[in-house]
């Protein structure tokens, strides 16, 4: 494995070191508490009745037999949602949004995907609940489904929503449509750019719906107390988002909803939406008992949020010198049953790696009869990169140009204006490309038949958003760090490291705890590669607050002006009297007798996020008889900014690559003609395992983000972006035919070869 490349010049004591994770013992001993472990007195078990049809009008629902079944305590349908009793006038401009959010939780007029919740039961046991849902009689009028963007965009396509019109920044189409919105960016003069090009290549691509594949299914336990207090325990990346969603859908005061995030067994963007929480809450309100609802793996596949399938077209113009002069891109992304695909993120990411003077990008958000899409690591970017990077690879092949050299000639760097407008600040794409060019993997020849090498680049914005942290000082000189960021990938450690570095104390002296929504200020989701950046920033500010108060306390104890006291590396001292000196620990011991404890607090919404780039190299071998692709070697290079905890950065990079490999080679939602998913288990939905893969080599390139005190950019999104294109290109070189559809499973590769 190559060495990481550290370009930041600052040396830290705690930041950048590979410390043990605080939650490690509980997790390896099985003591960590997940949502399914929640036990409460009088707990009932819930079960959801789901639509067997991808598209159907609900003519009637009869729950009487289920309600009469022994052991059943409550049955709910969409009629129990607040939306059912609200008029269009009451909701005003919010009408459609609330309608969609409510109908997503429990279908009212129409079932819009197989697995769409229709009703739910709370009973004494899971078995009773399962029997009871079978007694609910639903009369459907089955309608033809629209399963792909191509089908849904046809003029005579079956409409999912009769009241959905295409919005072009507020201007609505004349007729209802499955195209929820259309947006475009343009820069320069596209036609002129095409004329300037010596080579113009246009290609079309498709990718399938894929799932994040987190190992822990969705779960939710709710107790709606008689005083109106609603408590929820669940597996989520964003307890505050769940709180907001539940309060919104149930029209309940946000202050009366408390969400406790349990440990989380993976999310990758898929555990932000509130699927079960409103249902569990309604069942609890109706039964007067706490209710737990769990999804099976099949329910996770059929009724949570996959990444969208896509249809894309890319046209690039390039000069003989290898300079991109024009780009024309069409992206149509499946939103699932309700509007809201990440197509515009895809559009903004599509050309972010390159300085393109003339470009046009059109993006279409299209509803189809599939579960509503959700975020999945760098939402929208992997698909767009697959299309753009594949065309670049083909152009390089045609021109006989080295693909890394081509990318270096066009690479975005500080000062380059993005297609959607803003100008890049300090970024590290060039450093990543140079690291790839110098890597022994790239220098090593790839020999043997049926083998190919692919290279691709990828981008994600990285974001800030709101975070809160409280730090209280213990009498033994340790501190408790309270945060609202759910720990998915080791963020307890990365946040604690930043607090320890700022306070000048040992990492082991910081005890981080993730708490419920009543116990910390608003904190946005753990996602978007924001947590180590933004919650880290909150930890730094809370630690600075502690330092300020410690200085004040030392000044009081020494009876000296505050200005005479300094705090350096965890030691408080008088600026001119060397006798007056205390360590953090020594002062902590005196706090309770000198005015009480000290707690530092911060609420932040930081600017200064640093964009992230990665470049990957992959070698593959294709079996010409079966079409099976074997990954021979994989190297991921990424500018992570300062790597607070390098092991977790490497883990994020390897995890993203593995998920990208699955997306590229095997994973897809497979539907029959009626729109029913036929592979809704891990037996049939093929995700890569350790036996399928070589070691994923990583190189962290640390181009410090000047917008963060320790130079953090963010890590988790970028590594899933390049694999689709890198592997597609590698297979293309191995078999001599371009790969323009994913997954490139054995059947698809054999078809391409024939």
């Amino acid at each position: 494995m190559a060495s990481n490349i550290v370009l930041s010049e600052v040396e830290y004591n705690v930041v950048g070191k590979r410390h043990l994770r605080p939650d490690g013992v509980d997790k390896v001993t099985g003591r960590a508490q997940y949502g399914a472990d929640v036990q409460l007195t009088g707990l009932l078990q819930g079960k959801v009745l789901r639509s067997p049809h991808a598209h159907a009008r609900i003519k009637s629902i009869d729950t009487s037999a289920a309600e009469a079944y022994p052991g059943v305590h409550a049955v709910v349908t969409a009629a129990d949602l607040s939306f059912a009793s609200l008029s269009r006038e009451q909701l005003g401009g919010d009408y459609q949004r609330v309608k969609f959010a409510s109908n997503h939780v429990l279908a009212s007029e129409k079932a819009l995907f197989k697995g769409h919740p229709i009703a739910a039961v709370a009973a004494e046991s899971q078995h009773v609940a399962e029997e009871a849902v079978k007694l609910i009689k639903v009369e459907y009028e089955v309608l033809p489904p629209a399963m792909t963007v191509r089908q849904a965009m046809e003029p005579n396509a079956s409409l999912l929503h009769e009241d959905l019109f295409t919005s072009e920044l507020g201007e609505l189409s004349d007729k209802p449509s499955n195209v929820a919105s259309h947006m475009a960016f343009e820069t320069g003069d596209l036609e002129q750019g095409v004329q300037q090009a010596d080579v113009v290549l246009e290609r079309e691509f498709e990718t399938a719906s894929v799932h994040q594949g987190y190992i822990e299914p969705h779960n939710s336990t709710a107790f709606w107390n008689t005083d109106g207090q609603l408590n929820i325990w669940c597996s989520t990346q964003g307890p505050f988002v769940v709180r907001t969603s539940v309060a919104d859908i149930l029209r309940h005061p946000v202050s009366r909803v408390k969400v406790t995030p349990m440990e989380i067994g993976g999310g990758f963007g898929g555990k932000i939406t509130a699927y079960l929480e409103p249902i569990a809450a309604l069942l609890s309100r109706k039964s007067g008992r706490p209710v737990k609802v769990l999804m099976s793996r099949t329910e996770v596949f059929e009724a949570s949020g996959p990444a969208p399938g896509t249809w894309m077209k890319v046209k690039l113009g390039v000069t003989n010198e290898g300079k991109i002069t024009a780009a024309d891109i069409f992206l149509a992304f499946e939103a699932g049953a309700f509007p809201g695909s990440p197509v515009m993120q895809g559009a903004a990411c599509a050309l972010a790696c390159y300085d393109v003077p003339n470009a046009r990008i059109n993006g279409y958000d299209v509803v189809v009869n599939k579960p509503k899409t959700a975020a999945y690591r760098a939402p929208g970017s992997p698909q767009a990169a697959f299309a753009v990077e594949s065309v670049i690879d083909e152009i390089c092949e045609q021109m006989g140009m080295d693909p890394v050299e081509f990318r270096l000639r066009n690479a975005s760097r500080e000062g380059v204006r993005r297609v959607e407008g803003p100008v890049f600040r300090r970024i590290g794409l060039v450093e990543c490309l140079e690291a790839v060019r110098n890597h022994d993997h790239y220098k090593a020849p790839l020999e043997g038949p049926n083998r190919g090498r692919g290279v691709a680049a990828g981008f994600w914005f990285n974001r800030g958003f709101q975070s809160a942290v409280n730090i209280s000082v213990n009498p033994d000189g340790t501190v408790n760090l309270i945060e609202g960021s759910v720990d998915i990938g080791g963020s307890r450690a990365s946040i604690a490291q930043q607090a320890a570095e700022t306070l000048g104390i040992a990492y082991e002296d910081v005890k981080p705890t993730v708490v419920d929504t009543d116990s910390i200020g608003y904190t946005m989701v753990t996602g978007g590669s924001r947590t180590t950046f933004a919650t880290g920033w909150a930890a730094i500010e809370a630690a600075e607050d502690v330092k300020t108060q410690m200085v004040e306390r030392a000044a009081r104890i020494w009876d000296t002006p505050i200005e005479d006291v300094q705090y350096i590396d965890g030691v408080l001292s008088h600026k001119s009297d060397p006798e007056l000196r205390m360590t953090f620990r020594e002062l902590a011991r005196q706090l309770l007798g000198t005015g009480g404890g000290i707690t530092g607090a911060s609420n932040v919404d930081p600017s200064g996020e640093g964009n992230g780039f990665g470049v990957h190299i992959v070698d593959v071998e294709v079996d010409p008889d079966t079409g099976k692709t074997t990954i021979l070697r994989y190297t991921a290079v990424q500018d992570a900014g300062k790597a607070i905890h390098p092991s977790y950065v490497e883990g994020q990079m390897q995890g993203g690559v593995v998920q990208g490999i699955g997306w590229a080679l095997n994973e897809e939602y497979f539907f029959n003609d009626q729109g029913q998913m036929m592979n809704s288990s891990f037996l049939d939905y093929r995700m890569p395992t350790a036996l399928d893969l070589p070691m994923i080599d990583t190189v962290i390139v640390e181009v410090a983000n000047p917008g963060h005190p320790y130079g953090v950019r963010g890590v988790g999104e970028v590594p899933i972006v390049p694999p689709l294109a890198a592997i597609g290109s590698a297979i293309s070189h191995a078999v001599g035919q371009r790969i323009d559809r994913l997954p490139a499973n054995p059947g698809a590769v054999l078809e391409a070869m024939s």
Partner: protein, 89 residues
């Protein structure tokens, strides 16, 4: 005056004008200033008196945190870019 780049979708409203200058101290004033120059543009940018949920305002490369209250300086460069919130209602 702040320089405002007009989103591609709104070029029909501006008659093809791609960028303009607006005297404003915050985003609200800036959008009102745009409305004075290009009547109808305000309703395309705002929804329920807030910037549309699928849009974000970028000021000098930073996404505005305070919505319509975000400050704009005389030399600011303002863009309307996609909001990063896919998958949510």
């Amino acid at each position: 005056m702040a320089t405002v780049y007009i989103p591609t979708m709104l070029l029909p409203v501006t008659g093809g004008v791609r960028q303009t200058e607006v005297e404003a101290r915050n985003v609200r004033q800036l959008i009102n200033g745009l409305e004075e120059q290009f009547p109808g543009i305000k309703d395309r940018i705002l929804e329920n008196n807030e910037v549309r949920s699928n849009l974000a305002v970028s000021i000098d490369g930073e996404v505005a945190r305070m919505g319509l209250l975000e400050r704009v300086s005389e030399s600011s460069e303002v863009h309307f870019v996609p909001a990063i919130s896919g998958g949510q209602f």
